[in-house]
């Protein structure tokens, strides 16, 4: 599996650290009730197929929202998390 960094292009998988589903970008507001926070921290769509998840590119320090397929392991590309969150 080759992973794609928006800065550096297609790179070896070992240059990346995996964080988890991109659902973690949808952070609830601080004043929201506890249940919403518990769901945010623990519950996952966990899709079989197309997914968006968070990867960190160790050499360049980019947090990336990766578009990927969990069944075929195809990596379609990624966007900087800082751009996605705007």
């Amino acid at each position: 599996m080759r992973v794609v960094c928006p800065h550096c292009g297609e790179r070896d998988r070992r240059e990346f650290t995996y964080q988890g589903a991109a659902e973690i970008l949808d952070r609830p507001a601080p004043e929201v009730e506890n249940d919403a926070w518990a769901d945010y921290l623990h519950l996952r769509e966990n899709p079989a197929g197309e997914t968006r998840d968070m990867w960190y590119h160790d050499p360049c320090g980019a947090w990336i929202v990766m578009h990927r397929d969990t069944v075929s392991h195809a990596v379609h590309g990624g966007e900087l998390a800082s751009e996605v969150r705007k």
Partner: protein
């Protein structure tokens, strides 16, 4: 048909013409009292104990592939009860006791071999941690022996004891740990459940769960609608997709875990050896293949195959621990889909929907749990109350923060186990 040595002998003399399929291939009925979604090890053992322990008859197991096609046929067959935390400790202790009687119980040779599990340690701090774990195991009524370096050498003379990074200081020895033939466990439970009237329906994929007014009514499948009073999800790595049909999200991420086997060799590794610092463990199958594995690939996946970096890591760990393994040739590798929970411990519970139950979150440890998971899940489904060995496996523990069971002590969040 009851299996016996005499039966094998007489069949051998008569051309083995008397063997017959050991479970039926029934058409699904339009209605059951209980439908289990998933015909893996846990689903089959649940069906078996629902019939055996609770006298229930009108049960179907729906399997989207064939019996044995999931993780029950893709694991590294290790059976052990070396857990530390209350909640896990009594559950796996119960499971090991069920394993020890499983062949007589099922009249089926699951090749359960208590060859002993050896967990190595490489520092004084690790020794203290293993001593504490061993005491917890003994307190639970199981067996644990702390071996020093020379004690390990008597069992495993072939290790590299003076490895510069991970010198062997000793090990925690669990003599009742061992292995079992994984397919046979599925087949044994399948046969036992079928003999007690359970319908095992293969090639039957659940496509929807019908819920009316907060009460489950049945399932829609690739082979038609099936009404049911109770529906029990037990789909391991696919739990997320099954739960989504009931409008639920679970605290589960599915990850890939690889395993490997070499060509068949003469007996050389007589135990299950675990090298935690290298995320490596190994045993030898009765056919002679060295069966070994490592850590997760660490990205969510349903591919049932992994990538090369983890293969390389596992081979490096193997060479670090036992250089002789370099003479063996790897025959094949495969991957299983692990239903990883935030704290690394499983879930056996009701859901907020009446009549709908959930069993998932087995992480890397589902195989050894098959008997006790089925026992406890059957109890929950039949009586509505959690079994005493599994009462801490609550679905809501992540929401409430009460009863988190983080066996590794790494924290309770995704991607830490």
């Amino acid at each position: 048909m009851r299996y016996s040595g005499f039966k094998v002998f007489t069949e051998g003399l008569t051309g083995n013409k008397g063997w017959k399929p050991v479970w039926r291939d029934p058409e699904p009925k339009s209605e059951y009292d209980i439908v289990l979604i998933g015909g893996g090890g846990h689903g089959l053992s649940t069906a078996y104990y629902l019939a055996k322990n609770h006298g229930l008859k009108n049960i179907a197991v729906l399997e989207k592939g064939y019996i044995g096609s999931g993780n029950i046929g893709r694991n590294t067959t290790i059976v052990r009860a070396n857990y530390f935390l209350p909640g896990n400790s009594e559950f796996y202790s119960h499971s090991l006791k069920l394993w020890e009687n499983l062949e007589a119980e099922l009249n089926y040779n699951v090749m359960h071999s208590q060859r002993g599990l050896i967990n190595l340690f490489h520092s004084d701090g690790q020794r203290d941690a293993f001593a504490r774990r061993g005491n917890a195991m003994i307190n639970q009524g199981d067996d644990a022996i702390l071996l020093d370096r020379e004690g390990v050498r008597q069992h495993l003379p072939y290790l590299d004891f003076d490895n510069i990074r991970f010198p062997v200081y000793g090990a925690l020895f669990h003599p009742r740990g061992g292995t079992a033939r994984h397919d046979a466990v599925a087949w044994g439970y399948a046969r036992g459940a079928d003999m007690r009237g359970v319908d095992l329906i293969q090639n039957c994929e659940v496509t929807g769960i019908d819920i009316e007014g907060g009460q489950v009514r049945g399932v829609r499948t690739s082979r038609g609608v099936i009404r049911a009073k109770k529906v029990a999800m037990v789909a391991a790595g696919r739990s997320g997709q099954v739960a989504a049909m009931a409008g639920m999200r679970l605290p589960i991420e599915s990850h890939i875990l690889q395993a490997f086997v070499t060509e068949g060799l003469k007996p050389v590794i007589h135990h299950v050896v675990s090298f935690g610092m290298g995320h490596f463990y190994i045993s030898q199958s009765d056919k002679g293949g060295l069966v070994f594995g490592g850590d997760l690939d660490f990205y969510s996946s349903y591919a049932q195959r992994g990538n090369l970096p983890m293969k390389e890591h596992v081979m490096e760990a193997a060479m670090t621990l036992m250089p002789m393994i370099g003479k063996a040739r790897v025959l094949r590798s495969w991957g299983g889909v692990m239903d990883m929970s935030p704290d690394g411990s499983p879930i056996i519970d009701k859901t907020h929907i009446d009549g709908l139950f959930v069993n998932c979150g087995w992480n890397y440890g589902g195989f050894k749990a098959v008997p006790a998971s089925g026992w406890a899940y059957a109890h929950l489904i039949a009586t509505g109350e959690p079994h005493e060995t599994a009462k801490r496996y609550r679905l809501d523990r992540f929401r409430t923060g009460r009863g988190i069971m983080d066996e590794e002590g790494t924290g309770s969040q995704h991607n830490l186990h």
